[in-house]
């Protein structure tokens, strides 16, 4: 299956999906005007890879330094897909990076752990960027 890559912009994160290596990463900021338009194809790609059922392990790296509330909803949908895959035999490790002063991102990490119990969530606290 082919790799998928979107470069970062000032409003959207860099997104990489490498099915052969079982890697998904999202880094940067997320506040496009039309959040669903941005995330719909990404959700589609992730779903496609997970539905193929060939992955035993998916490692997800997320470090979103700022996200708006609409993006939080899109992440929630991604976590739904990941949780479903994890319940069906693909181990999912989510490395949730957040800046030390970012209370909302810290809390969201805790919520993910509670709401999506099949995903193994690893919180990674980062020193604040200047």
């Amino acid at each position: 299956m082919e790799n998928f890559h979107l470069p970062p912009t000032s409003l959207t994160p860099e997104v990489s999906l490498n099915p052969a290596q079982g890697l998904l990463s999202m880094r940067g900021e997320s506040y496009p005007e039309h959040v669903l338009t941005f995330y719909a194809p990404i959700l589609e790609k992730i779903k496609h890879v997970l539905d193929a059922g060939k992955l035993n392990l998916l490692k997800v790296d997320m470090h979103i330094t700022y996200y708006n509330s609409a993006s939080a909803k899109a992440f929630h949908r991604i976590f739904h897909l990941l949780n479903h895959a994890a319940e069906n035999g693909c181990a999912v490790q989510l490395f949730w990076h957040f800046d030390e002063e970012d209370d909302m991102a810290r809390d969201l990490g805790k919520d993910i752990r509670e709401d999506f119990p099949a995903i193994q969530v690893v919180g990674v606290e980062m020193a604040a960027a200047v």
């Binding site: 506040y31 005007e33 509330s69 800046d99 002063e101 209370d103």
Partner: protein, 184 residues
């Protein structure tokens, strides 16, 4: 404008602690530009990391709300699009973030009800409601998540959301201006 009036305007803004003010048409490009400028201004003002993040978060939710929900601008001959005013001021302890935009009178009851319900919440209730809304909105493909935006603002604010409609009640079949304020 007479230069003397501009002088007064500048002095008044400085006396009111205005750090940033934008009034005009908003779109995705404008928001990205003013966001970058706002971050720089907050840095210059010596905002700490947590404050700066909360101001930015609130400001962006307000901007997105204007983009998605404001009534089209109230000037008969003005450009089409979403007109909004956004303001950040310095206070002794921190910052205040304010916005203003047009609403049509039929939007007012629903917006007022949402604002009043968020205003009345204790901080831990805000967080509970945020989690609930996040789960339910994620199921609903059409929602643009206004509820979530207001809850995000409330979660960042040290004081309950403050709001005013002007005029209130709105003129029948007309527009009103909604002003909203949070304290960081």
């Amino acid at each position: 404008m007479q230069l003397a009036r501009f002088n007064q305007f500048v002095a008044h803004a400085a006396a009111s602690g205005v750090v940033f003010y934008h009034s005009g048409h908003l779109d995705e490009g404008t928001i990205a530009s003013i966001g970058a400028l706002l971050r720089r201004r907050l840095h210059e003002e010596g905002a700490n990391g947590a404050q700066s993040r909360k101001v930015f978060t609130t400001f962006m939710e307000m901007a997105q709300n204007i983009l998605h929900y404001a009534a089209v601008n109230g000037f008969e001959d003005g450009p089409t699009g979403k007109f909004g005013a956004l303001c950040v001021t310095r206070t002794g302890q921190g910052f205040e973030v304010m916005c203003g935009n047009y609403l049509s009178c039929d939007q007012v009851p629903r917006v007022r009800q949402r604002l009043e319900s968020v205003q009345a919440m204790e901080p831990h209730k805000v967080r509970e409601a945020y989690r609930r809304q996040l789960s339910s909105d994620a199921e609903d493909k059409d929602s643009k998540g206004a509820g979530l935006g207001l809850l995000t603002m409330a979660a960042s604010s040290r004081a309950p959301l403050e709001f005013v409609f002007d005029p209130d009640p709105p003129l029948e079949d007309g527009k009103t201006f909604l002003f909203l304020k949070t304290v960081i």
